[in-house]
């Protein structure tokens, strides 16, 4: 194949890729609009996000101001719609503020793991050979730990604290993302258009940036969104164990922990933070499923 022909073909390919990518996203959006479950869950998440962002305007009380006189009031108490906690702090306020930290700790580790995992996975998949061996064998080692155990082990050794928990959770989610990124990259690397690009003299960096990333980011992204719900449950779980966030901070898992003894006094107030985790995590899972279908990602 002469260079000019290859360039011409590349140009056509690039052009069709541009046209297709517009059509692709329009198609994704069209399919999403026809999926009521995903739209509903996304709306719930958006609403929660807005409430948490504007917490100081919406929350009826101060999240840290308690009163010994008003401890553990039931649901529907006047002035405290969702009752009060073991230190007399307003539950509704604490749930709104608690969501900020719970969301932060559910999303940040996955986002970090997405960046690190994609980098290492694409590197391993694209270069192959010894580097691939090295990266994938190290990944195997982390697979030899159940995820909860690994998170507890690392943050248990490092000690309590938000940063340590985020570090531990990031380490938990990097290996699975590497595996997904490596497998999709290996699949793309052997396709004809990558050979064509290489034959027409594109550097490895350009091939990865233009041809590989465009094809692998979608599947990796969808897979990563499915990890957010697990991460949120794990992060709250760490706080529940006394790792992660520390009192008097408001965080759903930690609130669940401090209210644990209150289940004999005000059971329905005590289980509220967990219900928040449940609703958020199920919404993230369903949105991720919807995205997977709309973006037509296999796996």
């Amino acid at each position: 194949m002469s260079t000019s022909a290859a360039t011409a073909e590349l140009a056509i390919q690039a052009k069709s890729a541009v046209v297709r990518s517009e059509g692709y996203w329009a198609g994704v959006w069209k399919r999403l609009k026809r999926d009521p479950v995903t739209i509903f869950c996304a709306s719930v998440l958006l609403l929660m996000l807005l409430v948490m962002v504007f917490a100081p305007l919406i929350a009826p009380h101060d999240p840290f101001q308690g009163s010994m006189m008003r401890r553990l009031r039931p649901l529907g108490t006047e002035g405290h719609l969702l009752g009060t906690d073991e230190l007399g702090r307003d539950m509704l306020t604490r749930l709104i503020y608690g969501g900020r930290l719970s969301w932060f700790m559910g999303i940040v580790p996955v986002a970090l793991a997405f960046v690190i995992g994609t980098f290492l996975g694409v590197l391993a998949g694209f270069t192959g050979g010894k580097l691939n061996m090295l990266i994938m064998r190290v990944t195997d080692v982390f697979y030899a730990f159940p995820s909860v155990l690994l998170a507890v082990a690392i943050s248990g050794a490092l000690g309590a604290g938000i940063l340590n928990a985020i570090l531990a959770l990031t380490l938990v989610f990097v290996p699975p993302i590497i595996r997904v990124a490596e497998s999709v990259t290996t699949g793309v690397r052997n396709l004809d258009f990558v050979d064509a690009a290489r034959a027409s003299g594109a550097s490895a960096f350009t091939i990865v940036r233009v041809h590989v990333l465009g094809n692998v980011l979608g599947p990796i992204f969808v897979y990563s969104t499915s990890l957010i719900s697990v991460c949120m449950i794990l992060a709250s779980g760490l706080s529940f164990l006394g790792l992660g966030t520390r009192p008097p901070e408001a965080e759903w898992g930690l609130m669940l922990n401090t209210l644990r003894t209150a289940i004999y006094v005000q059971p329905w107030v005590a289980v509220l933070p967990g219900a928040c985790i449940f609703v958020t995590s199920i919404c993230f899972n369903l949105v991720s499923d919807g995205l997977r279908q709309a973006m037509d990602v296999k796996g």
Binding site: V138, A153, L158, G237, F278, S281
Partner: protein, 317 residues
Amino acid sequence: MFFYLIRRLIYAVPIALAVGFVCFMLVQIAPGDPINAIVPPDAPQEVVEQIRRDYGLDKPLPIQFGLWLMKVVQGDLGRSLATGRPVWDDLHSAIGNTLMLAFAASLIGFVLGCILGGLAGTFRGSILDRLAVTTAVAGVSVPHYWLGMVLVVIFSVQLNWLPAMGAGPGGSADWAWDWEHIQHLLLPAITLSVIPMGIVTRTVRGIVAEIMNQEFVVALRGKGLTSWNVFIHVVKNAAPNALAVIGLQLGYLMGGSILVETVFSWPGTGLLLNSAIFQRDLPVLQGTILVLAMFFVALNLCVDLIQTALDPRIKRA
């Protein structure tokens, strides 16, 4: 098959070594001098130095790892800082309890998941299918420590049917096969079973739906086999994958039961880990994690071997 077995065993050795290394590093990444993980903080300076030399902590890291490994292989996981007892003494009874819990939960999750997933896969698009899919999503989305609390509120606080804490009457930590112990097992096992149930339902539904679409099923029907006989053929094809999934789940539950054990004060490895974290008892933390992770490695190996033995389609190269 024999060569495959040998090959898999050899392949497991570096993994096991690396897992050991990660566990060894846990004490190294902990803030402060690793010697603090061995001696109590109020020990005099000469004693600390003596122990540092005895444990080889004045030597470079790779040699330390070698020394530590030698001890671990001989079954010496060190001593607990809090109690002074060897870590293994507390660990081996805890492992039994955790295994019991994980096994019961896997069994419940597997049976329910197979029924739900099988029905959903056979009758795709029906109400039953939707119900199964919803249950599966809820099962993997629910924070199980919270579910445990809710079950305690319903069955212990409100209805007063089942005990809320411990593994037996009077806080006994030893398992026995009687009604009272089974009562104690019920709530934690049900709580822990929701995760494998969700995952098994999803997997079995996918496998069954795929098999039902294959030509041989149509051929079997065409030959005039009853639906029961067709069902047996489907099960034969679905079993290896389903078993592999549940085998891995058992391992995940061994490690993942820490939160549920905390909620129910179940005297297993999770509770041990929890108190070790609370007291910053690093030898106990390290030993427990090591044993659980090694168990997981061994389980992975077994699942792989059993799957290969069951499924002639997998190459035993």
